[in-house]
Amino acid sequence: MDIWNNIVLGFSVAVTPFNLFLAFVGVFLGTVIGVLPGIGPMTGIALLIPITFGLPPNSAIILMAGIYYGAMYGGSTTSILVNAPGESSSVVTCIDGFEMAKKGRAGPALAAAAIGSFIAGTFATIMLMILGPAIAQFALNFGPPEYFALMFAGLTVVTSLAGRSLVKALLATTIGLAISTIGIDLQSGVSRYTFGNLEMLDGLEFLVVAIGLFALSEVLANLADMRQAVMERLSIKGGLWLTKEDWKRAIPAFIRGTLSGFFVGGLAGAGAAVASFVSYGIEKSTGKHKEELGHGAIEGVAGPEAANNAAAGGAMIHLLCLGIPGSGTTAIMLGALLMLGLQPGPLLFQQQPDFVWGLIASMYIGNVMLLVLNLPLVGMWVKILDIPLYLLVLFIILFSFLGVYTVNNSVQDLLLMVGFGIIGYILRRLDIPAAPIILAMVLGDLMEQALRQSLIISDGSLGIFVTRPISLILLILAAISITNPYWGQLGAFFRRIFGQKTAA
C-alpha cells in the first residue's frame, strides 16, 4: 500500500471538525490529568470509557490516545515544580527537574520537558507508521526469560541511580519487592500476606503506595518544616526558554531518551516508567555532564521526558499491531476498543486502514497541539509556584484522596495511602530513596512471574537465562549497571578495611 495514500486517508479522518475537537479535548484533559498527582492516564481513560460508548471507534481512540500522550506531557510539570510526580513515568524527572526549579530554572526545565515530549512523540508516531509491524514481530522473540532479564536490568538501573548509599537503595528495593508479593500468587493460586482480607487479594494498588510515598510524605515533610519557614520559595531567575548551552546539552539527551524510550517501552512493553528510569541511567552513565545529574542537570529532564513519550508511542505499536497491550493504560484502551467492537491485532492495518491511519494522523496533530498548549503556557504552570503553601498542600491532599478513591472505590485504599504517607515521611527522614520501592513493587510481581514461568519452561534450570542471547545480553547490562556506580564505594570500602588493618 502506498504510504502517502494512507497518510492522506488518515488526515481525512483526523481533520474532521469533530475529531479535531476530540483530539484537543483528549490532549487537554491528558495534560490536566498528567499535572494532577493523584489521577493517572489509566484512571482518566477508565473514567472516560462510558463516554466513548456513544462515539464511533475512530473518535473514541483519538480521544483516549490524546489523554494517554497528553498525560506524558503534563506529568512532568508537577515533578519539576512541586517534586510530586503526576505519573509513575515522571518519578525520575523529580530528581533533576526539582533541583533545576530550586535553582530558579523551572522555566527551562518545563520547556525541555515539553520539547523532549514533542520530539519523542512525533518520532514514535513516525515509527508507528513505518516500523510498526516489523517491531511487533521482533517483540515476539521475548519470552519469559527475556522479560525477566529485562526487568532485572530495569531494577538494577534504578537501584544504581538512587543511591548515595548502596545499602539504603538496596533496602528500598527489597521493601518494594516484599510489597509486590502481597496477594494471590499467579503460579500457585495461593494468597500471600493478605491476612484474610479480600481487598488485599490482588495486592496493593500501585497508586496507593506511590501517592502515599511521594505526594503525602511531601505534604507531611512540608507541614513538619512549616514552623521554620514557608516551603522553599522557588523564584524564577532568568528566562523561561532554553539557553544556547541548554540546547547543546538537551538535544543529545532528547535523542538518547527518544531512542531508548522507544525501544524499551515499545519493544519490550516495559512501560513508560521503566523507559524513563532507563533513560536516566543512560544519562548518568554516558552523559558529558554526568557528575551534575541529581543536582539539576537539564539532561536529567530532557532524557526521561523524551523517553516516557516515546514509550507511550511504542506501547501503541503493541496495542495496534499485536492486540497485546504494552502498558497498563493501553490495556484499558484495549478493553475499551473491544467494547466498541474492534479487535486490535495483526489484521487491523489491513482491515481498518481508516481507523489506524486516522489515529496516526491525529497523533501528529495532537503532538502539535500539546506543544502549543504546553510551551506558551509554561509561564502559567510556573505560576503554580505562587500558590500559597497551604493551598498547594490542600490540593495535593485533595487530589491524592480523589485519585486513590477513584481506582477501586475503596476506603481501605485511602487508609493504606495514609499509612504509606507516614512510612514515606519516615523514609525521607532516614534518607532512604522512595523511587526504588515503587519500581520494585511494579516490576517485582511481573519479574517473579517471569522467573517462575521460565523455570517451569526449563524444568528448573537457571541456565535458561544465560543460554538465550537476548536474556544474556540484558543480564550483562544489568551486571554492568549495578557494579558501575559502586566501584568507587567498593574501592573506598576495601581501602577503609585495609586502612584499618594497617592502622591496627
Binding site: 470509557i49 500457585s188 493460586g189 495483526p346
Partner: protein, 328 residues
C-alpha cells in the same frame, strides 16, 4: 471526579428517562447499580456495560442504570459488597465460572453463588486449544499422544491461576484421555497478550484459553486451533473447521458461562421483574447486535434452570479440583 461524573450521568439519565415516560409497575423505584466485580475492560466489566447499554437503548427499565467496578480478590470484593446488599432490590452483579471455582478453592472464604440470587445465564464462550501456526501437532490427538509419551515435555499456557478455568478445562480433557491431570505442566500468564506472545515465541507448546482471547491471532493465521470444547462445531467462518473435543473421541465439553445475579433474599416482585426484563433483553436487536460485535454466543437460561446448572457446575468443579489438589 468520578462522583461528579456519576452525578451528572445520573442527572442526565433522570432527565432522559423522565422524557421517555415510565411504565406503570411500581418496581423499580430507585436507580439500579450493576456491579462489575473486576477492573474496567475485562469480561465481567464488558458484560455489565453491555447489559446497561442494551437496557437503556431499548428503554426497558424506567430507572437509570449505572455500572460500578468492585475489583479484587478474583471477584471476592464484589461478592462481599453484594452480601452487604442482602435483602435489597437495586443491585445486580455479573459472574462467570470463577464464582464457583473460587468458592471451592477457598478464595471466597466460604461464600458462593448461594449468597446471591441467580437471575439468568446470558452468554457463553468455549475453551479453545491453539498451537503456533508451524507447530508439528496437527490434531488434538497428536498433542495428547506426545503428552502420553512424556507429559513433562509439553508445557501449556493459560490466563488464569492454576486450578482455574484455563487449567481445569484442559485437565478435564487430559483426564478423559487417560493422562494424569497432576502431571500437566501449566504456566499461568497475567493476560491473554502475554500468553499469546509466549506461544508465538515458542516458549510454550500450546495455549488453552477462551475463544474470545484468540480470535485476532486466528484471523491473522499466526496460530492454529486444534479443538474447541463446545458440544458441537461453531458456525462462524473462522471456527467452522475446528473440531470439537467430542469429535476427537473424548466426551468432554467446557463452558465459560456468564450470568446475572441479584443479592440474596431478592424480593419476589424484583425477581420476577428482572427475569422478565432480561428475557426481553436477550431478544432485543441491541443485545443481538452487541453479541455479534463482541463475538459472544447467546446461552440464555432463566433463573430456575440457571440455579440447577450452578449446582451441577459446583459438583463437576469440586471433583476436578479435588483431583488436582486445589479444593479446600
Amino acid at each position: 471526579m468520578k462522583r461528579v461524573l456519576l452525578f451528572v450521568v445520573v442527572l442526565l439519565s433522570l432527565v432522559l428517562s423522565a422524557c421517555g415516560g415510565a411504565p406503570a409497575s411500581s418496581y423499580p423505584e430507585q436507580p439500579i447499580e450493576i456491579i462489575a466485580p473486576a477492573n474496567p475492560g475485562g469480561g465481567w466489566d464488558t458484560l455489565a456495560r453491555t447489559i446497561q447499554v442494551s437496557l437503556e437503548t431499548e428503554k426497558m427499565v424506567s430507572q437509570p442504570l449505572s455500572v460500578t467496578n468492585k475489583p479484587g480478590g478474583g471477584g471476592g470484593v464484589g461478592l462481599a459488597y453484594m452480601a452487604a446488599q442482602k435483602g435489597t432490590d437495586y443491585t445486580l452483579v455479573v459472574y462467570s465460572p470463577p464464582l464457583v471455582i473460587n468458592n471451592i478453592n477457598g478464595t471466597f472464604e466460604g461464600k458462593s453463588y448461594k449468597d446471591l440470587t441467580p437471575l439468568a445465564k446470558l452468554i457463553t464462550d468455549y475453551q479453545i486449544i491453539v498451537v503456533k501456526a508451524d507447530s508439528p501437532y496437527q490434531t488434538l490427538e497428536d498433542l495428547l499422544n506426545a503428552m502420553r509419551a512424556d507429559p513433562k515435555a509439553i508445557k501449556f499456557a493459560g490466563v488464569s491461576s492454576p486450578g482455574s478455568m484455563d487449567h481445569v478445562a484442559f485437565a478435564k480433557i487430559a483426564k478423559a484421555a487417560g493422562i494424569d491431570p497432576k502431571q500437566l505442566e501449566y504456566i499461568a500468564f497475567a493476560g491473554g497478550g502475554e500468553a499469546t506472545t509466549a506461544l508465538l515465541g515458542g516458549n510454550v507448546t500450546f495455549l488453552s484459553t477462551g475463544i474470545g482471547e484468540s480470535v485476532a491471532q486466528l484471523e491473522a493465521g499466526t496460530i492454529r486451533a486444534l479443538a474447541i470444547t463446545a458440544p458441537e462445531r461453531l458456525t462462524s467462518d473462522l471456527l467452522k473447521d475446528v473440531p470439537t473435543v467430542k469429535e476427537s473421541g473424548y466426551d468432554v465439553t467446557y463452558e465459560i458461562w456468564r450470568g446475572v445475579f441479584g443479592p440474596a433474599d431478592l424480593s419476589p416482585e424484583a425477581k420476577a421483574y428482572w427475569e422478565a426484563t432480561l428475557k426481553k433483553m436477550v431478544e432485543s436487536p441491541t443485545w443481538k447486535a452487541q453479541l455479534e460485535k463482541l463475538n459472544w454466543r447467546d446461552a440464555y437460561s432463566p433463573s430456575e434452570e440457571f440455579t440447577t446448572f450452578l449446582g451441577q457446575e459446583t459438583e463437576t468443579y469440586r471433583a476436578l479440583l479435588t483431583e488436582l489438589g486445589f479444593a479446600k
